[in-house]
Structures are given as structure tokens and as C-alpha cells.
Point group: C2
Chain length 96, copies 2
């Protein structure tokens, strides 16, 4: 068995982070999402001046209006943040 | 400045991996995609018995039929792989 690549290792980390906060139920409720954002994106949260940030993210991700963020919605959150980071990176940080 | 969380570190790795293969043009062509898959997902590729795997992935990701995989399409690839891994993880590996 070959050792996982760095990208595979990163993907594993993403998967396990979801399950750390989702627990046995396999979805995150609003409290779990708040804990994940506090723990993993504390700087991002601090820079949001809107106290409703977590509620707004929850509303965006909770497709079925059941108060649940499933793994697919979690992937959407990560992808959305990555796309925003990428725009900044390409504009300001990438060597031209 | 606070040190990045493990999840942020993983996201940075994902972003930089794209740019490593996309280079200055900010998209991957078929050759770049082949190199990324060979380098980062070699076991996955080895387990595909279909010699057209890379072409099929390219076709899925090349939204505009220009032979280009942009950052958004790359995020779709990663999300698709993650969702497949998650199904396996929940079914076979997660502690019940």
C-alpha cells in the first residue's frame, strides 16, 4: 500500500473534521456548525461584523430546512470558501 | 496573527496543488490533469480498469468545452471524490 499523497491527506483531514463535529448522527446541527466554525475558522468568524453570520451560513447549507448540515453541504461550504480564497490568491499573491 | 487550523492548512494545500499543475495560465489542460491525477491520486487511477478514465474526468470537468479545468471544476472533482470516500467511510469505517 502506497502512502497517501499530501492532497489525499488533506482530503482525509476534511472528512474527519466533519465527523468530529457531526458525531454519530452524521450531520451537523446549528451548534455543531458553530463549534466547527469557532474551532477551524476562528479568524474568518472574527472578521465578520455580522452577528448573524453563523445563522446565515446555516440557512445556506441547510438544504432541506431540517436544521441539518449533511456532508454534501459541508463540501459546498468548503468549496465556497476555497473559491473565495482562490480569487484573492490569484489577484494578490500568485507570482505573475 | 493566529496559526492556521488543520482544516485551513488542508484547504491551503488544495489550493496550492491546483496552481502547481495549472501554472501561470490558471487552468489545467488535459496534460496537467493527467499529471495531477498521476501524482496525487495514483492508487485511484491504478484501480480504474478503464483506460479512458482521465478523458472521462476531463469531459465531466470541462464545463465550457474548451479543454480547460478551472478552479471551480477542480473543487467539483475534489468534492465528488470526498463524497464517494465519505459514503465508504460511513458504511465501513466509522465506529458505530
Amino acid at each position: 500500500m502506497v502512502a497517501p499523497s499530501e492532497l489525499e491527506h488533506s482530503m482525509e483531514k476534511m472528512l474527519l473534521t466533519f465527523h468530529k463535529f457531526a458525531g454519530e448522527k452524521n450531520y451537523m446541527n446549528r451548534d455543531d456548525l458553530q463549534k466547527l466554525l469557532d474551532s477551524e475558522f476562528s479568524e474568518f468568524l472574527k472578521n465578520q461584523n455580522d452577528p448573524m453570520t453563523v445563522d446565515k451560513i446555516m440557512k445556506d447549507l441547510d438544504d432541506c430546512r431540517k436544521g441539518q448540515v449533511n456532508f454534501r453541504s459541508y463540501c459546498s461550504l468548503i468549496a465556497g470558501l476555497l473559491i473565495a480564497c482562490n480569487e484573492y490568491y490569484v489577484k494578490h499573491m500568485k507570482k505573475r
